[in-house]
């Protein structure tokens, strides 16, 4: 089976400062992952802030060039994409969704403009077809062009904006979507509808999704496979349900234990009636971290 996306031992080093005061940051170190063509799945990349998740996403999107290793999309090295047409072809296939929908859209531009531009440039639509394309994409996310046309970003809620961002990404019928923390800025009551939307994109539109998050619970809920990153390295990967239910690496276990679940109500170590034994344990743990 051929690979849709093949991230092959990729690494990224940022160098700050000049000759004398050099500071080298190894943001991503030797990470590999592979998504198969013709088998849409959701791959969750989990890690704390500073673990290199976003750098990895930027490299997959060809917004940053890896310092070592290679990223191949449908067999072609993404860093070797030259020229306008090849770049457009790549962007048509691989689309991003960013964390903060309020920052993703220019507040001075109407939202429909983004949709129409994408339809014109990526889907080669002309005339009336432009609106039809935009409307179709909006219907796929549960909105319609009538609700969006002529409106500015501040007139919509965060959840609606994120849906529009997803609709915009869908216009070019991509085969891969890279979603960087897509639900962390969305309200609790709307979060699940966005997450469910990703599921339906995978099942109905056959889009593979790289879902970058620090929320283990939603990752467990939607993803097929997970990759857990710590300080730029992939520390654990595998089938989502197995890894998250029974993490092996100590960092994965720490992540798993740090998830605050509503089921803990009334029996948490943090509550006032916690026993001293619990407390001193907690003391020792956080003491060693600071």
């Amino acid at each position: 089976m051929s690979a849709l996306l093949d991230v092959d031992h990729v690494g990224m080093t940022y160098v700050a400062g000049g000759l004398l005061a050099r500071r080298v940051v190894r943001a991503v170190d030797n990470v590999s992952l592979r998504l198969e063509a013709g088998k849409p799945e959701i791959l969750a990349v989990i890690g704390e802030s500073g673990s290199g998740k976003t750098t990895l996403a930027r490299m997959i999107l060809n917004l940053a060039k890896p310092t070592d290793g290679a990223i191949r999309f449908l067999g072609n090295d993404v860093t070797r994409i030259h020229g306008g047409r090849a770049r457009m072809d790549f962007m048509r296939q691989v689309q991003p969704i960013f964390q903060n929908p309020f920052e993703a859209f220019n507040p001075l531009k109407r939202l429909d403009r983004y949709l129409f531009m994408s339809a014109r440039r990526f889907a080669n639509a002309r005339g009336g077809e432009i609106e039809a394309r935009a409307d179709k994409a909006l219907h796929q996310v549960g909105l319609s062009l009538a609700e969006v046309k002529g409106r500015f970003p501040h007139e919509m809620s965060g959840g609606q904006l994120q849906r529009i961002a997803i609709a915009r990404a869908l216009i070019s019928s991509p085969s891969l979507i890279v979603a960087d923390e897509p639900v962390s800025m969305v309200d609790a009551s709307l979060r699940m509808s966005i997450v469910n939307l990703f599921k339906s994109l995978r099942d109905e539109l056959k889009v593979s999704i790289v879902y970058i998050t620090h929320d283990l619970a939603t990752a467990y809920y939607i993803s097929d496979r997970v990759l857990i990153m710590q300080r730029g390295r992939a520390v654990e990967s595998g089938v989502a349900r197995d890894v998250l239910a029974n993490p092996q690496h100590c960092y994965s276990r720490l992540l798993r234990e740090s998830v605050l679940s509503p089921d803990d109500a009334g029996k948490s170590f943090m509550l006032a009636n916690a026993t001293p034994a619990h407390r001193s344990q907690e003391d020792a743990k956080s003491g060693s971290e600071t």
Binding site: G50, A188, S193, A217, Y221, L254, L260, E289, T290
Partner: protein
């Protein structure tokens, strides 16, 4: 830490804050068009001493406006229309809206402190952490400078923060560290009442647990009361004693956190709790249809009725009253808690 249990029993039922029928609206008037956003509309609650009260609800439901109004950190166009906020510090009542500026300044930090939303970005970027401590707390502690600095260092050490952070600029610290410094700053005067607005929202899970543990410990040590605002029900379950759920400017359910989460009565709370994905549970979860109402033109009757699966005729016409359904458990819903 070593407070005798007897003392704890003594202060357990003392009231620290009484909010009655508070209404705060954003009122604007431009070119003859006036607009009123009813961000807090008739909220009543009481908070006891040595208690952590949680406020849950999605963004734009009025959580932040409510706590801003409670600490009187408001400025036009936000105005208080009706109701009162009364704190009880050291045995005397202070109605925060009848106090003069000078008296209010006397209360702040010493008795009442407020950890703002986005608190990792509130430290002055061009001042070292030590200077921020001096700017904010020096005049409230009223001690000579060397003694004050020793006091601050001891306070940081007690919170297991390295006193070396005092020499750092905020940009040299990580987000979690800045958050911890802000919590230390807010608690350095050992206030009786702490309001923490989304203290952990931008943090990842490991740091979040640590910061919440710190917050809980500060509270336990000072025996102060606290309002903790966050939309994350998981945080509430782990940290708060009582929980109030807000929807569109109104309190819809309130009770012991365990009760509210385990046996929610209001359909909105029930949805919030049941829709949360959990590790180990792969059943299909549903998002709530529709979006929160526009508070400039809220729907008539119960504000949740356009999205409510249990909506009846009466819900569209009249606002449901808060009904006590069990000890300390209040719900405002026509369907599940008829008066």
């Amino acid at each position: 830490m070593s407070a005798a249990p007897a003392l704890q029993a003594n202060v357990a039922s003392e009231r620290a804050l009484t909010v009655s029928n508070l209404r705060a609206y954003y009122q604007t008037k431009y070119f003859g068009i006036s607009r009123e956003v009813r961000a807090v509309d008739g909220v009543s609650l009481v908070i006891d001493r040595d208690e952590i009260y949680g406020l849950a609800g999605e963004s734009s439901c009025g959580k932040t406006t409510l706590v801003k109004t409670i600490v009187r950190a408001i400025r036009p166009p936000l105005n208080v229309i009706d109701g009162s906020v009364s704190f009880r510090f050291a045995g005397c009542e202070h109605d925060i809206y009848t106090l003069g500026e000078a008296e209010l300044t006397g209360l702040r930090w010493k008795h009442l402190s407020y950890i703002l939303q986005g608190s990792m970005n509130v430290l002055n970027p061009v001042r070292r952490v030590r200077e921020s401590f001096i700017d904010f707390a020096y005049r409230h502690i009223k001690r000579p400078m060397p003694e004050f600095l020793r006091f601050v260092e001891n306070h940081l050490a007690r919170l297991r923060l390295d006193p070396a952070v005092l020499d750092n600029f905020p940009h040299e610290l990580s987000g979690g560290m800045r958050q911890r410094v802000t919590i230390a700053l807010a608690s350095v005067c050992r206030p009786d009442f702490i309001v923490a607005d989304e203290p952990t929202t931008a943090l990842d899970v490991v740091v979040q647990k640590d910061v919440l543990g710190l917050l809980r410990e500060v509270q336990r040590e000072i025996r102060s009361s606290m309002i903790l605002v966050t939309h994350d029900i998981g945080v509430h379950a782990n940290v708060t004693d009582r929980l109030g759920v807000m929807y569109a400017g109104r309190l819809v359910e309130e009770g012991r956190t365990v009760e509210v989460i385990r046996s929610s009565r209001h359909p909105y709370t029930a949805h919030l709790v049941s829709s949360l994905p959990r590790i180990g549970d792969a059943t299909q979860k549903k998002g709530l249809e529709g979006s929160p109402p526009n508070l400039a033109a809220p729907p008539p009757g119960c504000r949740f009725h356009p999205r409510c699966p249990l909506a009846m005729d009466v819900c569209r016409k009249e606002h449901p009253p808060m009904v006590v359904v069990a000890a300390e458990h209040r719900v405002a819903c026509w369907a599940t808690a008829p008066p």
